[in-house]
Each structure stands twice: as structure tokens, then as C-alpha cells.
Assembly symmetry: C2
Homo-oligomer: 559 residues x 2
């Protein structure tokens, strides 16, 4: 910990970041001053980069891998292109904590040399650049979890997940922003300020993996790593129109991460992929699990990644989708409901009976929030408070909202913690029963549920990316953290100024609903991406990815 | 809870138990008065039961199932035989809390009728009697977890594991004793007194599933259900010369159990099988997991029981066994070390190069005990103290030893709990590394460890069944609870008066070692069964069973 003022720490952190970008060669082209930027900055990088840099950075990860394996693009060219676009992204949306050009280019050269020498790629991620949320440690680099007071801590080892990806041949090149405490669905810290949304700079990039979200949204990355304990992969994926998977807990290793509340296992954080393509999610999970990481990380369940295709619906048996339109607490804004309706309609009309839709009735999502919000900060937020106090930095608005102003946060006794853990387990069993009850029967030999819902399709939040400091409802994502269900976010459209007018006659149900309702105005949410969420039962991560693939095949035909 | 004195509660409990035995028809034959019983009572039941009753009760579970499926024995005859032998067992070793003759015989008749009507067994456990530790709830029956103050609580549902077994066709007929607090490696309560060892009534049956252990040891059951958080399946299995499996946590469901500290997940309790045969363990696990219990119990990992055969060593590649001779803290008594040496020698000489043995160096087992003992009672034992105080019953000696007299028990703050959980996870990762380091390399494609140890072979405790109130070292079993490794106990012999003389020259290493050393005298341990323990890595339950099967095939040839 530093004894400097938080302001000087922040200045030092930003100087370190800027220097890492200034080392890019050739130097980045000039951009308009921040005040002169348009709301939508997504097309700016393509206007100033070379045609090859644009081609590389706008390709999907599977396409980049193909070009690398075919030696059409060198790994050095690919790394350089993404480094440069990430450098521009920093100037446009403030999403980077540092670039690592020397490490990245040396590694990329190693990949190129390997391919030349051996005549084959280094591994399934050969030469692919991967961006990484700052809290995921990289040996010898800073690790601060969003607190000024933690700045200056240096990681002693690479995070264990990174080792698996490295072993598969990837290139790490960019580290991305996160909020103070890591517990916002936005990205606002005293170290780096606010990360904004590339589609509309007045809106949040989401969080807590909001640096990743914004970087992917502006195509400064095609595959990145986030973490999620209440929506922190899914909110930024949704807000920036990219894919994000919250895997089931204990599938991917958490070794080497920096965060408060280490040792708290009441609600397990997870680490997972974010990508500009669905195939990117699949490729990432496969590489991460290919070599039995559970032998090193004994918390993991020894389940390899089973290719999604094998888990898709059997011919003649439709994939049954429960549609959760509304959680009963906070009604989603009109663009979300419209996108959900249109998606279901397209899948029904163009789906050739591949899908069957039923309404999913939410089961006590208010109780779910009460349980998870109480379990998040079982020490009453003491550790976060101490980490903030250690540098004298001020509380960011959403840190205040989720800890001191959160009525569910309390310093628990062990007996209270056990009672809450019991409530959590009881709720999980009840929700499993709700799901089982969607079946018409049980196969007497296998125990399989006959005709049960396969996945839940639902909003990712009560609206698209909100204006800054307004992401104050977690229920649409935290619900699945409480249940430890895998959840995948995928983009379906954008807010439409014509069709998404505000419903002036709506009568809000409660204070949270009123807050959310008042946030909405189509003008405010202009150009915001809209995404949806597919949710499976525990350990059905592959099924969720497989169903999304089947849906996208239809949706692309229907568009 | 009752407002009666604990003495009157205990009298009522015992009256209820005796009445359940008195309802057996025909009435049980008379037995010698307790004072006149020999130390070894294992052969007494066979002397007073009918030849068919003896044949049934002395058969292994797989043999009983075969006879039932072939209609050579009716389910009613089988249930009646086990009920009667269990009734005798109660008089000889005090292991029963109640028999359920009416339910059992009605169920057995249902099995017989089904087989007659359908021409096939009801399921893989058709007609097989299964005995159950009292804390595992049965709808409408008492549920007390060993506390007088909890007596009178009635289970509202069957424990969830029982539902799976019931569905497979089994018959529940006997409920068995457990100690006060459930946290002894013996079985001593104020409700029912002390359960003793059928091989030597001066010794303990072990615990906390000691009623099961004693009942299986005297063949009043061939398949039973215990629970284990520090050795509670394995200690009684070992002490009574039967098989017992502590599965990896979250493989079998815990729904419907009664115990203190519900909601504590720092050290997970498990439920698992105990049996007079190894096949019984396999049959049980298969039936319990055949119909996807994880759909009802969302804490479970969705892993079906993969037949052990498929996990045995590949031809030409020996099974590599790490032998943990001594944990470095408390040296096992001579009979244990002799049995371990003889077992290894037999497997080496008669094993046809199937096995390779290396010494396993214990890694900080003292630290392991410190961590687990601190995590067991994170509330400082407040819940147990309250449960004991609620009836005014006295503390049993081993309850006192493990809670108020245990230097590691402390009422923790949430921050302290998190720090300890972190220490637990760090220790688990270190132990995984120790295991990984036994490999000579890693397969570059699969990540498999080349030449690594497959299983650990070790003692189950620092001696055979000790005299009453002396089971004060848990390290040989609790070690694997801390690591959540599957561990299987199997019998290998008995204490030998000639060969197992005390080593008078031994210099104990510490106070615990001194206590254990002073316990030993071959005369005191006369006739005590000796068992060993096979330990695998997390979720390698099937491998452990498979290796034991391969070992037994050799050991039987060698005998």
C-alpha cells in the first residue's frame, strides 16, 4: 500500500497507462479532443487505422485464428493491430489500465517463429490476442482491484486461467478497467475515472468488466476475460453488443485474482469469456478446459468442455424455451421487451419447429435479491471500507449505493451466516423444483425430465446501458449468480427511436420500478445495443452455448 | 423440544426402541445377560437364528440381490431375517434406535408382489434391506441428531437419498445409533448409552456412524448409510471390519438430514455407503446416482456413477500407489503398520506387476488438523452447547474433548472465517501440487499426469478400535475431509496377539503421540479388526473403488 494521496496515486496510474500507449510504434494518429467526439465513436478507429489493421480488428476470433493458421496474417501484425486499436479505444472510451506492447509483440514473434519452425500452430489459440480485466493478475504487473490504496501491489504469478490460455498459444496485450470495489454494474474508479459506452458516450459501458465490454464494443479486442458475481461479465457484454458467458462456478480457476472478500464462498465469483462472436466463447472454454486445470486447482469440477453441438436438441424434439418477460419486480424498458418479442417471433416463424416457447413465471426474485445482497458483504462491507479508507479516496456513487446505503448489508455473526446460507440452499432447491415442474413426466430409466424447459430466455437488465451512475438494479443478472446457473448474453439489436417510445401510462409497482421507469427516454438511450440472456441449469454451460448457436442460425436467416 | 428431564427423555427413547424390537414375530430367542456375554459376540446370532436366517444375513448384498431376483429368497423372508438379527444385535452391542418391522415387511411384500406380477425385479436394489443412521430422516419418525433436547422432532419427509434408493426397490428396516453432537469417532449418547464393538465389547464401535458399523460387523445388515465430516463413515467401517466409502462432497444429496451447524459449508459433510462387501458400495453408489438426483438437489455435481472397471489401470501400466505409513504426527500402532506392510508385500509378490508402490510423504498434516478443527465449529460450538443445554443432559467425554476442550474452537468473526477458508484453499492447492509432483511429466495433448500416483494407501486411524472414550486422534481420516478426497475403507485382518507386541522402546514425538502410544497393548485390542484406507483425488470415487477391487482380487489369491 502506498502512503501517497489518492490523487497522486491516480495520477501515477494514469501516467503509467499513457506511457504504455505512447510506446506503440508507429505512434497513434491524432483524434478529436474528447469534447468534440460524437456520441457514437465506434466507427472512428476504422477511419484512422490502415486497411489491414481494420480487417484484422474487425474480424471474429475464429476468423483471426484461421488467417493466422493459414499464415495470411502474422501474429505480430495481428497483435500490433489490436494494440493500436486498443490504444485508440482508450482515448475514445477510457477502458485501458495499461497495454503491454513489448510482451505482446515478443510473444507474437514467438508464435510466428513456432509456426515457421514446426509447420503447425502453437495451439488452438495460436497468436490470438486476448484482453484481460485488471484484477486478473499478470506476473510482474500491478494488481489493484479498483482501489487506489491497493495500487502498487505487484502480481507474483500469472492468474491460473491465463496459464491455460497461454499454453494454447494466445497473446496478452491489454489490461482493462474496473470499478472501485469491483461491485458496480458500471466502471467508475478514482484511479482511472469512468469508462463510457462506445455506442453512446453518455451511457455506461456496464461493469464491473466494463473495460472489457467497451474495448470489445469498439473492436479493440475480439476475445477478453471478465469476472462476474452479480452480472459483471453480462452487463458489459450486453451494454456493448457482444457475447459474454457467466460459466457455472468451479469450472474455470480463480487462482491469481485480486479482489476483496477472498475466502468468501457464500456466493462464488466466476471468471469467464467475453467475445465479439459466439464461436469465441466456445473456443475460449474449450482451450481453458482442454488440459485438466482441475489437477492444479482442486476447487474445480473435473468436467471438460463438451462441444455444444452434442447437447443441442435431438431431431424432432424442439428446444423448449421458457421466456421470462419480466421478473415481477422491475419491468424492463420497452426496447428490451420489443427485442424479446421480436426474437421469439422470429424463432417461431422461421425456426421450422426447432423451438417451443412457454412463459416462465418468476419465482420470488425479490427474495433472491434479499439473500444474495445479504451474502455479498457478510462482514458488513468492512473490507471494502478499509480498502477505500486506506488511501483516503472518496466513495464512488455506486460503491456507496451497494454497501453503506444497501439495507441488506450487515456484519453477520457466524450463526446468521449459516442461517442465510441455509436460506440460499432452500431457495436453490425451490427453484430447481419450479424447473422440474415444467416437465410432463420423468423417464423411469434415466431420470430425465420429459418435456421440461431446456433454457430460460430473458432480459440482461431492466434496460439497455443506462446513463452513468444509474445502474441500480441487478436482479436480472444476480438472480443467476444466486442460483449458480450458467448464463450467456448475446446481442439482438439496438434501441429504436421510432418504435421504442416511452409508455407514459405505466404505473410503477415499487420504488425500484419507479426509478427504472423514470430513467427511460428513447433519446437518452439513443443507439444503445440490446442484448438478451440465455440461462441453463447448473453445469449446463455447453447447452446454453449450443442453444444460442441454434437460435443464431435461425435469426440470421430471418433478418 | 421437550420440557421433560433428559433422563425421562432417554427412558422414553429406549422404551420406544425396545417396543419396536418386541413387535418382531416370532419373538427373539433369549440371550445371555449382558454381564455374561463374551468379548466377541459376532458368532452369537448364528447360534440362535434359523439356518435360513443365518444364510440370508451372512450373505453379501450382491448375493442377497441375486437370490431375491432368482426368487430363491422372498423379500419378506430377507427382511424378516435382517430384522431379527438386528434385534439381536441391539441386545449384544446396543446399536439400534428403532426397528421398523411393519413398514419393512409391508414394503418387502410389495417387492414380492411386484416381482410376481411383472416377472422382473422392482429395480437394482429389489428387496434389499438397508439400515440407516438415525440422523437421516424418515418421514413420520423421530429425528434427534444425538441430542436429548431434540428428541421428539418428527421428520416431515424422507431424506432425499432414501428416495433414490427406495425408487430402486430397497427395504428400510433399521435405524442406528450415533453420538451426542455427531462429532465423535465413537458412539456415545445420553439417549441410548454406548454402542460397543461386536468383536470386542470393551472396544468402541467407532463413530459417528457407529450404530451402522456395529450392526454391519455383527451382520445385522449388509448395506447401510452413514455420514462423514471427519471420519464418521470410515472409523466405524474400520473398527468393525466392513467397507465404507466417504464420497467426494456434492455427489450424494444431503436433503432431509438432521444435524447441528446446518448451513456451514466450510467443511462439507457427506453421506455414503457402508457394506459387508465392496460390491455393496458399488451397487449403492450406482443406484443412488442412476436417476440424476442433481435435478432435485442443485448442490450436486451432475456426475453419474461410472462403473469402476472402466477406470482401472490400462494393461501394461501399473496402478501407482503412494503408501502413507505414518502422518508424521501420531505413529500408528504396530498391528496397523504390520497389516499395511503385509498388504503391500502381498500385492507386490502376487500382483503380477499390476501395482507399483512408492512412499507418500505426508504434507503438513498438523496444519491440516488445525485448519479443519478451527472450521468445524466456527461459532465456537454455540449451537451444540445450546442443544445440549436445552435438556440439561451432561456433556459426554468426547463431546467435551472436541468442543470446549479443543484449543482450535473459537467463535469466529466473518473476516476470520474468510481468512481460514483461504488457508483451507491454499492448503488444498498445495496438496494438489504435492500430488502433481509425483508425475514424471504431463501429456502435452490431454494434460494427463504421466506416472503420477493414482491412489494413496494409508491407515484409517492411529490404531484399531480403541477402548471406549479414547478415540482422540482424527488426523488419518479428517485429513481427507479437509481435502475433500474420496476415501474407501476395507478390511485386511485382525490384531494378532503373537506378532503385534508393544514396542516398549518407542519415544513418542508429542503429547498426542504419547496418548496414542500408551493406549496400545495387544491384550486390550484383542480380536480387533484391522482395516486400511484408499484415497483418491476429488471426484475420483470410482477409481478408488476400482483400485480396491483390483487389490482384493490379488489379496484373495495371496491369502
Amino acid at each position: 500500500m502506498s502512503t501517497d494521496s489518492w490523487e497522486s496515486i491516480a495520477a501515477e496510474a494514469q501516467k503509467h497507462r499513457d506511457a504504455s500507449i505512447d510506446r506503440l510504434q508507429p505512434p497513434l494518429p491524432g483524434l478529436p479532443a474528447t469534447a468534440d467526439l460524437p456520441l457514437d465513436v465506434t466507427s472512428i478507429p476504422a477511419a484512422v487505422l490502415t486497411p489491414q489493421e481494420v480487417a484484422i480488428t474487425e474480424a471474429s476470433p475464429e476468423h483471426v485464428l484461421q488467417k493466422l493458421a493459414g499464415q495470411e496474417w502474422s501474429a505480430v501484425d495481428v497483435a500490433s493491430a489490436f494494440l493500436r486499436r486498443a490504444g485508440l479505444a482508450q482515448q475514445l472510451v477510457n477502458c485501458i489500465t495499461e497495454l503491454t506492447p513489448e510482451r505482446a509483440l515478443a510473444r507474437a514473434k514467438e508464435c510466428d517463429d513456432y509456426l515457421k519452425t514446426h509447420g503447425k500452430p502453437m495451439g488452438p489459440l495460436h497468436g490470438l490476442p486476448i484482453s484481460v480485466k485488471e484484477m486478473v493478475g499478470m506476473k510482474g504487473l500491478d494488481l489493484n482491484a479498483g482501489f487506489c490504496g491497493w495500487w502498487g501491489t505487484v502480481a507474483e504469478e500469472d492468474a491460473w486461467l491465463l496459464d491455460s490460455l497461454w499454453d494454447a498459444g494466445c497473446v496478452f496485450y491489454a489490461r482493462t478497467t474496473q470499478p472501485q470495489t469491483l461491485m458496480h454494474l458500471e466502471t467508475s474508479s478514482n484511479l482511472y475515472g469512468v469508462t463510457v459506452n462506445p455506442y453512446n458516450r453518455n451511457l455506461t459501458s456496464g461493469g464491473s468488466s466494463g473495460g472489457e465490454g467497451a474495448l470489445l464494443g469498439i473492436k479493440g479486442s475480439c476475445l477478453g476475460i471478465g469476472t462476474d458475481i452479480g452480472g459483471s461479465i453480462r452487463s458489459p457484454a450486453a451494454n456493448n453488443g457482444v457475447y459474454g458467458l457467466r460459466p457455472t462456478a468451479n469450472r474455470l480457476p480463480l487462482g491469481g485474482l485480486s479482489a476483496s472478500m477472498e475466502g468468501a464462498e457464500h456466493i462464488m465469483p466466476v471468471i469467464g469469456p467475453m467475445s465479439t462472436s459466439l464461436a469465441g466463447i466456445d473456443i475460449f472454454m474449450h482451450a481453458a478446459l482442454a488440459k485438466k486445470p482441475w489437477l492444479r486447482s482442486p476447487s474445480l469440477v473435473p468436467l471438460p468442455w463438451t462441444p455444444p453441438a452434442t447437447l443441442a436438441s435431438t431431431p424432432g424434439k424442439p428446444i423448449k424455451v421458457g421466456v421470462l418477460w419480466d421478473d415481477g419486480i422491475v419491468k424492463p424498458h420497452l426496447p428490451i421487451l420489443r427485442a424479446l418479442q421480436e426474437t421469439v417471433a422470429k424463432l417461431q416463424t422461421a425456426g421450422n419447429s426447432q423451438f417451443e416457447f412457454v412463459d416462465w413465471t418468476p419465482y420470488k426474485h425479490d427474495e433472491a435479491w434479499e439473500i444474495i445482497a445479504s451474502l455479498y458483504f457478510a462482514d458488513g462491507g468492512a473490507e471494502e471500507s478499509a480498502a477505500i479508507a486506506s488511501s483516503g479516496e472518496p466513495w464512488r456513487p455506486l460503491s456507496r449505493w451497494i454497501i453503506p446505503d444497501n439495507p441488506h448489508v450487515k456484519n453477520l455473526s457466524i450463526a446468521e451466516l449459516w442461517a442465510l446460507t441455509n436460506r440460499r440452499d432452500a431457495y436453490r432447491a425451490q427453484y430447481a423444483q419450479v424447473w422440474n415442474d415444467t416437465a410432463s413426466g420423468v423417464d423411469a430409466t434415466t431420470g430425465d425430465l420429459l418435456g421440461a424447459v431446456d433454457v430460460i430466455l430473458c432480459p440482461v437488465g431492466p434496460g439497455a446501458a443506462p446513463p452513468l451512475d444509474c445502474a441500480r438494479y441487478w436482479g436480472y443478472t444476480s438472480q443467476w449468480n444466486l442460483l449458480d446457473y450458467p448464463a450467456l448474453v448475446f446481442p439482438v439489436g439496438k434501441v429504436d427511436q421510432q418504435r421504442d417510445a416511452k409508455d407514459g401510462s405505466y404505473q410503477p409497482r415499487n420504488e425500484q420500478d419507479l426509478y427504472n421507469h423514470e430513467l427511460y427516454d428513447p433519446k437518452v438511450y439513443e443507439n444503445a445495443p440490446i442484448s438478451l440472456q440465455l440461462v441453463g441449469r447448473r453445469f449446463e454451460d455447453e447447452k446454453v452455448v449450443g442453444v444460442c448457436r441454434a437460435m443464431e442460425a435461425v435469426l440470421k436467416t430471418a433478418l
